[in-house]
């Protein structure tokens, strides 16, 4: 090869490799791979592809445990998004991804580009995005910068998704001091495609042109993937330039143009330029297609002069796609993009030999054997260690139970359990006219136009449980998601996971990760839910302190018939209230302990997958038969909080009169596999019989009333409140806590 060093390139040696995040072994691997001293561009490419963010080097050995196949699965992990069959000839492509590090540094752009990236992952598959969700984990409301972070993230998500016109129909917003220095922004998107029209990112056909479309390339986001693979320190603020800037308008026209061009038949493969930009898209496409490529970086359209091959290959400028077109049909492709006022540039071609060649004018900036690069990707099995303080944290401290009436008011008055409407009102959740149940319910429900059926979406994880027992926490997240889907009559068809953890080089964090995966895998196998896509985010750590383990799960289900879908609030006076499932004294890791008493200890509630399966089966059956008006899952805050929430209907406060066999502690217990349903009085006998047949404990505890009064008798007392008063606390808690 010709001399590769350009005029002002720094010396490429082990010290520079270290600055790029490569350890000694990886540096040697790279030298062996290229068979000489690597060029700067080669070093940049290897450092990006081998970063934790792109290579999954610490997680892969564990991820293989997750079940990824099933009768509905069309494409499992490894594609831009997982794809499942949802019937009527349709498939759903979906994925969740983290944008944690950039969002903490620059919340508005960090969150916005998180939405942009996940939308591209979905339409890259040929699927039209129809829904988004976001799982947000913030620090304590009074932590430094938190008000700014919450406001910025919510505006960023809203401005981007609203402009592109994809409804944000659900998600989570949580607060915990464990995220004071590392907030989490996990963005989910789902798209629809006809089964036979799914696209993949496999390059093929030597001589086929590589077309670059979308925004021009700038200096933004260079080494974003590497940043996302490091912990934060006092200097992290200075990393602002590594955060990308979003342009939702370009995304929208890119989306329309890509979907249109895919219908021409001239597209062989298509891939967005996400983390590690052009580098990851071209290497991944070539690798999965078993081919090579030549790229001329000097043909890449630039936003500013003076970018070299190193920067062009690593830029994470947003809203860009790489297309492999059928040779000779470039003009057909270009015509579509021109119609949408987008630039198309031919920047290279597919090659037979499995080598990636990066040329910049006459300069050979990188020559990397692709098959060997994949093989050389370092895999690590990190040492694990049970946290030293775990046994101590499992001990349940003695505490005096609060007055239940007071406790209920105080719980509803927290941003954790209060209404999240302040957040989701800033997201368009009704565009595309599919939203049957929007944010605020147990699961969102979308109509599948032209069919009687629908899709249900939910997003779940309880990091407090995961911190106290990652195995149980992992299982619980799966169980709760299945339960939430069942509350709207949906059967799960797949899930996508966003595994947010601290520093995997810390053996206690590595243990948390392994245990969480065990727990998720175990529950997924038992409840038959395949994991079809996902993302791992490590190094959510600042100055040695890691976040609570947070395996966010987004689960998708199918509602066979939208006719009788129950809602999470009451709808009809006179309906009988039935409590499903069995309550134990399980306050370990509960909202009650954490939010009222400042205690985060004990063992999280036990998960019985068998009970969950029976409960979910009953709920789905009753929903399909139109037997229930209301179904609401019991989770944080237990029975008392769930009952209050169900009384808050849109524009109306219902009353309840109930008598339960619970005490001042168990009113707030977070025992799993429970739900509250409201059944029309004339069908309650039938429902109770059905519950008995299914083996689900069911007790008729009272009725829905018109009075707007919350009247509950329990063992040793009663709660008597105006629902309006409770709602006042609940509906304003979040903006009040943050002064927004």
């Amino acid at each position: 090869m010709s001399q590769t060093k350009t005029s002002n390139e720094p010396l490429v040696d082990q010290a520079l490799a270290e600055e790029h995040g490569l350890n000694a072994e990886e540096w040697e691997g790279l030298c062996a791979l290229v068979g000489r001293q690597p060029t700067l561009t080669e070093l940049g490419i290897a450092s990006a592809l081998w970063s934790e963010h792109c290579s999954y080097k610490s997680s892969k050995v564990h991820l293989e445990e997750l079940p990824s196949s099933g009768e509905h699965v069309v494409h499992g992990p490894g594609e831009n998004a997982g794809v499942v069959d949802i019937g009527h000839g349709w498939v759903a492509a979906f994925k969740i991804e983290s944008h944690n590090h950039p969002s903490f540094i620059e919340p508005y752009q960090g969150a916005a580009t998180g939405v942009g990236g996940i939308l591209r992952d979905v339409f890259t598959m040929g699927a039209r995005p129809i829904a988004c969700m976001d799982s947000l984990h913030f620090g304590a409301p009074d932590a430094p910068r938190m008000r700014h972070l919450v406001d910025g993230v919510v505006r960023g998500i809203g401005d981007y998704g609203n402009c592109v016109g994809i409804p944000t129909v659900g998600g989570q917003t949580r607060f915990h001091a464990g995220y004071d220095q590392n907030i989490l922004v996990n963005a989910f998107a789902l798209g629809l495609a006809r089964r036979e029209r799914v696209f993949t990112a496999k390059a093929r056909g030597p001589g086929n042109p590589l077309l670059y479309v979308g925004s021009r390339t700038g200096r933004d986001g260079i080494h974003g993937a590497t940043m996302a693979s490091e912990s934060f320190d006092a200097e992290s603020e200075s990393k602002r330039p590594t955060v990308q800037v979003g342009d939702p308008f370009t995304e929208k026209i890119l989306l329309e143009a890509c979907l249109e061009v895919m219908r021409t038949g001239a597209v062989v493969a298509i891939q967005d330029m996400g983390a590690a930009g052009l580098t990851s898209s071209v290497f991944e496409m070539a690798d999965s297609g078993g081919v090579g490529f030549t790229i001329h970086t000097d043909r890449v359209p630039l936003r500013e002069e003076g970018l070299g091959p190193y920067e062009i290959m690593l830029s994470e400028s947003q809203e860009r796609m790489l297309i492999v077109a059928e040779r000779g049909r470039q003009e057909e492709v270009a015509r579509v993009f021109r119609k949408w006022d987008l630039e198309v540039s031919e920047i290279g071609e597919v090659a037979q030999e499995q080598v990636g060649r990066v040329l910049h004018g006459s300069e050979e900036a990188a020559v990397i054997p692709i098959d060997k690069l994949a093989d050389a990707t370092p895999m690590v099995r990190r040492p694990v260690e049970v946290p030293k303080d775990l046994a101590q944290r499992h001990e349940m401290p003695a505490f005096e139970a609060e007055d239940p009436q007071q406790a209920l008011c105080r719980l509803l008055d927290t941003p954790e359990l209060g209404s999240k409407e302040w957040v989701w009102r800033q997201y368009d959740h009704t565009v595309r006219t599919n939203t049957v149940v929007g944010p605020g319910g147990d699961a969102a429900v979308l109509a599948l136009k032209g069919t009687p059926s629908g899709l249900a979406l939910t997003c779940d994880v309880n990091p407090v449980y995961c911190g106290l027992d990652p195995f149980v926490g992992g299982s619980q997240a799966v169980a709760e998601a299945v339960r939430n889907l069942a509350c709207v009559g949906a059967e799960p068809v797949g899930l996508t996971d966003c595994l947010n953890f601290g520093n995997p080089e810390n053996p206690e964090v590595a243990w948390q990760f392994r245990e969480c995966i065990h727990g998720i895998a175990n529950a997924c196998k038992a409840l038959e839910v395949p994991v079809v896509s996902g993302n791992v985010s490590f190094y959510n750590e600042t100055e040695g302190v890691s976040i609570p383990p947070t395996p966010t799960l987004a689960m998708v289900g199918v509602v066979p018939d939208l006719g009788g879908v129950p809602v999470s609030h009451f709808t009809t006076a006179g309906d009988r209230l039935v409590l499903l499932g069995r309550t134990h004294d399980e306050l370990g890791g509960s909202a009650y302990l954490r939010l009222l008493l400042g205690i985060e200890a004990g063992k999280p509630p036990a998960v019985s997958l068998d009970s969950e399966e029976r409960l979910a089966g009953l709920l789905r059956y009753a929903s399909f038969e139109g037997m229930i008006h209301t179904a609401h899952d019991l989770s944080e805050g237990g029975f008392a909080v769930a009952l209050a929430e169900a009384a808050f209907a849109p524009y109306k406060n219902w009353g309840v009169r109930a008598s339960v066999d619970l005490d001042p502690r168990t009113l707030f217990s977070e025992s799993q596999a429970r739900a509250l349903v409201a059944v029309p009085a004339k069908r309650v006998e039938e429902f109770l019989t059905e519950a008995e047949t299914e083996g689900v404990d069911a007790v008729d505890i009272g009725e829905v009333t018109e009075t707007g009064r919350f009247e509950v008798d329990f063992d040793g007392g009663s709660i008597e409140l105006d629902v309006d008063e409770l709602r006042q606390l609940w509906s304003t808690a979040l903006p009040r806590a943050l002064d927004l």
């Binding site: 401005d159 016109g165 308008f249 009102r425 997201y427 009704t430 565009v431 595309r432 939203t435 049957v436």
Partner: protein, 238 residues
């Protein structure tokens, strides 16, 4: 009726209106591309919601300069029906087809929620399917819906009865200062018509509440009336 839905780069409610006109109301519908001054024979032209050109400059400002607006103007001048919803309303104002402007919401935030509006005029080509005074629940989703107009324009609008929809509470009470006037619009204005009544601009989205499965079909009568199908669809006498 032949209907045309205009697509500007960045329109994102075009498919929604198309869906209701075509699949719920069984009309002939086509998309109209922004860069041609050709309505392809459409009798009803809809400027849909969305973010034309990203609205980076000002809602509807660039879209108002599109070639198709010339054709829309000519169509309107000849008495043809033109409906602007949300971003489409912004385009109508920017192009001068209706008076006034839309500022950022009073909350300075994007607001997506259901609002209540009162039908103030039931004798327009858009609202004959409603009774005067009826309170409708309609979805909104916008950041710039705060209607303002010059004193003179407002006076004309009010005196000639061109305010068709006004934000109100669930019982139909209109109060400009109250939270029911969701975006802070002058006189709580949610929708207005041209002097001949053939152009309607409104912030709420009737197409998002035109199917029972979505839990609300208060908007259907508007679109049904516009395409002259109110009688068949709603069983109403016109």
């Amino acid at each position: 009726m032949r209907c045309g839905v205009v697509t500007f780069p960045g329109s994102n409610c075009d498919h929604d209106v198309y869906h209701v006109l075509k699949h719920v109301l069984s009309q002939q519908v086509g998309f109209l591309w922004h860069d041609k001054a050709d309505l392809k024979g459409a009798e009803l032209v809809v400027l849909p919601g969305g973010f034309a050109y990203g609205d980076y400059l000002r809602g509807g400002a660039l879209a108002a300069l599109s070639p198709i607006l010339e054709a829309v103007r000519e169509h309107a001048d000849n008495g043809g029906l033109v409906l602007g919803i949300c971003n489409g309303f912004q385009v109508l104002l920017e192009s001068g087809l209706l008076p006034g402007a839309l500022r950022r919401n009073r909350s300075l935030r994007f607001e997506c929620r259901d609002v209540f509006v009162q039908v103030e005029r039931a004798d327009t080509p858009w609202t004959e399917g409603y009774e005067e005074g009826r309170v409708l629940r309609l979805p909104i989703a916008h950041g710039e819906g705060n209607y303002v107009a010059s004193e003179a324009d407002l006076e004309v609008l009010e005196e000639t009865g061109r305010v068709v929809f006004r934000y109100c509470d669930t019982d139909g009470n209109v109060d400009e200062e109250s939270a029911s006037n969701i975006n802070g619009s002058q006189n709580a204005i949610a929708g207005i018509v041209s002097s001949e009544g053939n152009i309607l601009g409104m912030m709420p989205h009737p197409e998002r509440c035109s199917e029972a499965i979505l839990g609300n079909d208060d908007g259907l009568a508007l679109l049904a009336t516009a395409v002259g199908a109110a009688t068949e669809v709603l069983g109403l006498s016109r």
